[in-house]
Symmetry: C2
Subunit: 341 residues, 2 copies
């Protein structure tokens, strides 16, 4: 068993490897001031690096070298950053990774364009895969990226549609379907499948990895939604209570809407329907989420999904010999639901 | 020589072929209401179809079948539409192809996401190229798309940067460099090169096509800027005097800033620096553009560039046997600067 600090060390090592690769794919040329300089600064803020770590570890677990997956891991991180920039515009978020979001710093037009640039640049490492791995492997990996990108915009459309049309009558199944498309497809399923493809030279059975990635990603997202509510100011790097303020349909909100008294439910729904969400009202909804047990519900739900992830894990990596990469991926499961940032 | 109506007929035929292909690449599945239905309706508005026509004609000119280039032509049109949706958000434009822009109809979040979806979907036909043309040709064509996309976001960053920082001291060379990256790279150079690659099975010398595409695209863009000022309401399909209202650095504006009296220049610059541009002031700037000869200057400039395009044309297609496709491409040059919509 990997200790918490061994997991953290390995995550850091993967993150540093990826960070070096990512920065090489942001061009050093004009236009600097309104495109590449802000992009480089933004990508260097760095996140936890979970997504590229999944790709690198899956490659190693299936017998590959970390170098084989490095361009793909960099592409995952670049794509993730592109999504973050556009997401923050769509959600009106102000803080990301502890600093101003791109559109707050540079305005919507330049930020939107910078996100487009990153979504384009993420294909550079995938083009490099042709020389590194040949055209067949390169094409298989690139196809995974395209599939994940299509899924992500579908998930985003579903979530934005709920908000645009004031939809509240949603079940955990609706929520999980949205999260599968919006979060899991590119955050966990894509890096795991791409890594396994690369490590096994196209021989791995990818379907169990999809199942594992789905459970892992859902557990990650639910914990993310919990952290939005319970994190101390600044720790989390995003807007405090941002999900409530943005009217996001989290599992926690869905529980509250079902569990609350008629009067409280009316208060919550009225606030979400309203364009303006003052701090006091947002805090009151957050308190209700605690008092009605909605946060506890989500935490318990994440734990159940994490158990399901552990079962999928055993199937997905059944054919892999023991290795520190396999252990890392196993320990990522509890990390997803116990992390505090 | 092709008559004007023969050119129009051929353009229509290419456009209809492309339209059928484009619509096949917009999925018929959920989420419909907030993604694929609006996208299908938007792509079916259709434009002139110049970009895909260049791709199909170049393929035929170099000896290929139109079917070989159809997926790539569809990809060009899908990419163009993706750029339009994001451009209109960045520019705050309200009218496109005679109707509301996507973000006016659906709000910025859903429109931004729909643009992302199209930029992703445009790779589907390029993936289909593998089966149609083999992996080498497919990879060459896809690389052209990536190059053009990188160039486009760079051009867009330059133009948005000028507006964000109130830059007026620009020369025609600055303007042409921006147009090369923002407009020509994906609108003319990409479809011509991709078509020639496909038609010649990778044998065509692409450099003269880049030169031809540059001149053709620059003539197109300058005429576009002129039409923004002289078109009758509704004819043009975009916001009337939209460029002035959005503060775009067109060749016409650059001429005016240099040619105007101190007082008039001050008026123009103050208006462009201001966030609010009332109709009366916008119309006054448009009148100055006429009175100071700025529109005539741009028209003459476009004619000069069209002559340069004609020279590049002779070199680019020197090795091609006579065909109606070659004649179509030759006649596109005068069409670019004489079109009224």
């Amino acid at each position: 068993m990997v200790t918490a600090s061994a997991l953290g060390d390995r995550l850091d090592a993967y993150r540093d490897l990826t960070a070096d690769a990512v920065v090489r794919y942001v061009p050093v040329r004009e236009p600097r001031r309104h495109l590449y300089d802000p992009l480089r600064a933004y990508t260097m803020r760095g996140g936890k690096g979970l997504r590229p770590a999944l790709c690198l570890a899956a490659c190693e677990a299936f017998g590959g070298e970390v170098e084989d997956a490095l361009p793909s891991a960099a592409a995952v991180e670049l794509l993730h950053t592109a999504f973050l920039i556009h997401d923050d515009i769509e959600d009106g978020s102000e803080t990301r990774r502890g600093r101003s979001t791109m559109h707050v710093a540079y305005g919507v037009p330049l930020a939107l364009n910078a996100g487009d640039a990153l979504a384009t640049l993420c294909f550079r490492p995938l083009l490099d895969n042709v020389n590194l791995l040949g055209s067949r492997m390169s094409r298989l990996v690139t196809a995974e990226f395209h599939r994940a990108m299509e899924s992500t915009v579908e998930g985003q459309a579903i979530e934005l549609g709920w908000r645009a049309e004031d939809v509240f009558d949603l079940t955990p199944v609706d929520y999980l379907d949205m999260v599968l498309r919006k979060t899991c497809a590119y955050s966990t399923i894509l890096p795991l499948r791409a890594g396994a493809l690369l490590g096994s030279w196209g021989q791995a059975d990818l379907e169990p990895l999809t199942q594992f990635g789905y459970a892992l990603g859902a557990a990650f997202q639910i914990q993310d939604d919990v952290l939005d509510l319970v994190s101390e100011d600044g720790r989390y790097g995003k807007d405090v209570l941002g999900d409530v303020r943005e009217g996001k349909r989290t599992l926690i909100l869905l529980h509250l809407v079902h569990a609350a008294s008629a009067a409280d439910r009316e208060f919550v729904v009225a606030l979400l329907r309203s364009g303006s969400r003052p701090d006091g009202a947002v805090r009151r909804v957050a308190e209700m989420m605690r008092d009605y047990g909605s946060i506890d519900f989500a935490t318990a739900y994440a734990a159940t999904i994490a158990r399901s992830a552990a079962e999928s894990f055993d199937e997905a990596f059944a054919g892999c010999p023991p290795s520190s990469a396999v252990e890392f991926l196993r320990e990522i499961i509890p990390f997803m639901i116990h992390r505090s940032a």
